[in-house]
Symmetry: C2
Subunit: 302 residues, 2 copies
C-alpha cells in the first residue's frame, strides 16, 4: 500500500491557497519527499502528514521554488528528535548545493547524506526502489520513479513438497532463499511470476521527454509539470522547459498511466479546474492536483 | 499614519495556522519588514499586504526561524519587477550571513545592500527613523525602533508677519528652512514645539532587558517576545534568551507603552488567549498577537 499526498501545486511563488509543488510518498512506515519548496513543512502539517519517517528528500533541481524549504524542514525534524541519517538526492550539482545549504541549516543531530543516484536506483525496505528519470528543464534536472514490487503467488503445495517448514514460508514470499535438507530452495521454486506492483512517477519541472514517458509507462500515478494551461503558451513552455496541460495529458496517454495529476501551475492560472478539459480532451482520466490531494494505491492483481 | 501587520506569531517552526513571527510596518507608501521566517511571502499574501514597497528587511538575528524566508521573498519581489535597491539590516554577522544567502538567492535584478545600523539609525522619507535596539538573546541580536516624528503646530500669523508666501508654508511645516527677503526663516520660527509622533518597537527574540525597555518607553505599539506562557518556564526563558507572558507585560508596564502585542509563541502553546490573563495581571492592555492582526496608528495630539 502506497499513499501519495500532494503538499503543494504552485510554480515560482506560493499563493495564499497554493503552496509550492511538493509531494510526500509513504509506504509501510517509510516516506520520501519530492522537492522541498518554501513552506513545505507547514504544508505537510496542513495536510496532516508527518515527516518523521523520511528516508530521503529527492530534489528535481535547484531552483529556489523547489528547495528553499529545505533548511527549515531539516531544523524542524531535528527539533522533533531525528537522529538517524537522511538521504538527499538530486541531479548534477548536488555537492555544491549542499555545501551552501548546510551552512544555512547549521549543525544537525543527524547526518544528511547527499547521494548521486546510482543507475540501479536506491533500494529500500520491502523491496521498494527509487530511480532517477532524466528530464528536460533549462538546468540539470531529474524526475523520480518509485516502484513497490509484488512477488508472485505463493504455492503452499510446492513448498510442502520441497519440505519447507511453515515458519519459513514468509521468508520465501519476501524473496529470500533457504536451505532445506541440504538443498537450496529459491522463491521462484514456490512462487509464480511476479505480479503487478505499484509505480509512482514525479516529474519535477520538464518539457515532455521520452525518458519521462518511458519511466511513466503503466504507472499507477504520474504527477507531472503542467505549468501552462492553454496551447498558445506552448512556445513559452518550450522556452522555459515546462509543459502545457495538453502536452502532459498526451504524454500520460502514450504512457498509458492509470492516474495523472497535473501540478506546478503558473501563478497566472487562477483556477486549474477551468482548464482541465484541455487535458481531458486527450487523456480523459486527467485530474487537477490540488494542495492536500491524496490517494492510497493498493496492489490490484489478485 | 502607520500601519503594522503581524504576519506570523510562531517560534521555532511554523504551525498550520501560525506562521513564523514577522511584522510589516507601512507608512506613506513605504514599508519595513521585521524578520523573514520561512513562509513570510505567503503569510503576507494571506494578510493582504504587498511587499513591493519594501525599503528594508530588518533581521533581529540569524536563527533559521527568523530568516529562511528571505531567499524566496527576494526572488518573488524580483519576479514582481523590483529594480530599486533593498536594504538588509541585521546585527553582527550580517556580512557572513549575506555571503551565504546571496548564493541561494542567485542573481537578482536589484541590489541588496547590507547595512550595519549606524547609531543614529536609518532615515527615511517623511522624517521617519529606524534605530537598532540591543537585545538579550543567546546569539547577537537586535530589536528595532521605528519613529515617525510630527512637527509642532504651524502658526499662520507668525508666517504672515515674517512675509512667507503661502505657497512656501508647506516647506516650513515639513522642516525646511527658507530665505525670505534675505532673511532665514526656520521651521522653529513659525511652528510650536514638536508634537507626539508615532513609535513602534519590534523586539525579536529576547529576555527582558533595559535597552528594550528604554526604547519602548511611551511606544504606541510594542511587539514583543512572549515565547513561554507560564512563570514555571521562566528558567527556560532565561536559559534560551526569551521572555514569559508576565515578564513581557511587566516590561511594557514599566515602559508605559500604549499597546502590547505578545508574539513568538512556543509551539507548545496551543491557545495563547488562554494564557493572556497572566500578562493582563500586570499590564491590563496586553493583547495576544495573531497572524494577520493589524492596527493603524494615527497622530493623537491635536
Amino acid at each position: 500500500m502506497v499513499t501519495v499526498t500532494l503538499l503543494g501545486t504552485a510554480a515560482t511563488m506560493p499563493l495564499p491557497d497554493r503552496a509550492l509543488t511538493t509531494a510526500l510518498l509513504s509506504w509501510e512506515g517509510h516516506s520520501l519527499l519530492f522537492d522541498c519548496g518554501e513552506g513545505t513543512q507547514a504544508a505537510a502539517m496542513r495536510a496532516g502528514v508527518g515527516l518523521s519517517r523520511l528516508e530521503a528528500v529527492c530534489l528535481t533541481h535547484y531552483h529556489g521554488d523547489h528547495v528553499f524549504g529545505l533548511p527549515g524542514l531539516l531544523q524542524t525534524i531535528a527539533c522533533q528528535g531525528r537522529t538517524r541519517p537522511l538521504l538527499l538526492a538530486g541531479p548534477k550539482g548536488l555537492e555544491n548545493f549542499w555545501a551552501v545549504m548546510r551552512l544555512l541549516a547549521g549543525p544537525l543531530p543527524y547526518q544528511v547524506i547527499p547521494v548521486d543516484m546510482p543507475a540501479e536506483g536506491l533500494w529500500f525496505e520491502g523491496g521498494a526502489t527509487l530511480t532517477a528519470v532524466p528530464t528536460k528543464h533549462r538546468v540539470p534536472s531529474q524526475g523520480y520513479c518509485f516502484q513497490l514490487p509484488r512477488a508472485g503467488r505463493f504455492d503452499p503445495d510446492k513448498a510442502r513438497a520441497l519440505g519447507v517448514p511453515v515458519r519459513d514460508w514468509k521468508k520465501l514470499q519476501q524473496g529470500e532463499s533457504l536451505t532445506v535438507n541440504g538443498r537450496t530452495v529459491a522463491p521462484g521454486d514456490v512462487c509464480g511470476p511476479a505480479r503487478r506492483g505499484i509505480k509512482v512517477v514525479f516529474s519535477g519541472d520538464t518539457a515532455p521527454c521520452p525518458a519521462l514517458e518511458e519511466a511513466a509507462r503503466g504507472a499507477d500515478l504520474l504527477i507531472c509539470d503542467a505549468t501552462y494551461d492553454t496551447e498558445e503558451l506552448a512556445p513559452e513552455a518550450a522556452r522555459y522547459g515546462h509543459s502545457t496541460f495538453r502536452q502532459t495529458a498526451a504524454l500520460a496517454a502514450r504512457a498509458q498511466v492509470r492516474r495523472l495529476w497535473l501540478a506546478h501551475y503558473s501563478p497566472r492560472i487562477e483556477d486549474p479546474e477551468a482548464a482541465l478539459p484541455l487535458a481531458q480532451a486527450v487523456f480523459p482520466a486527467a485530474e487537477c492536483g490540488f494542495d492536500g490531494k491524496a490517494v492510497t494505491l493498493r496492489f490490484t492483481e489478485t
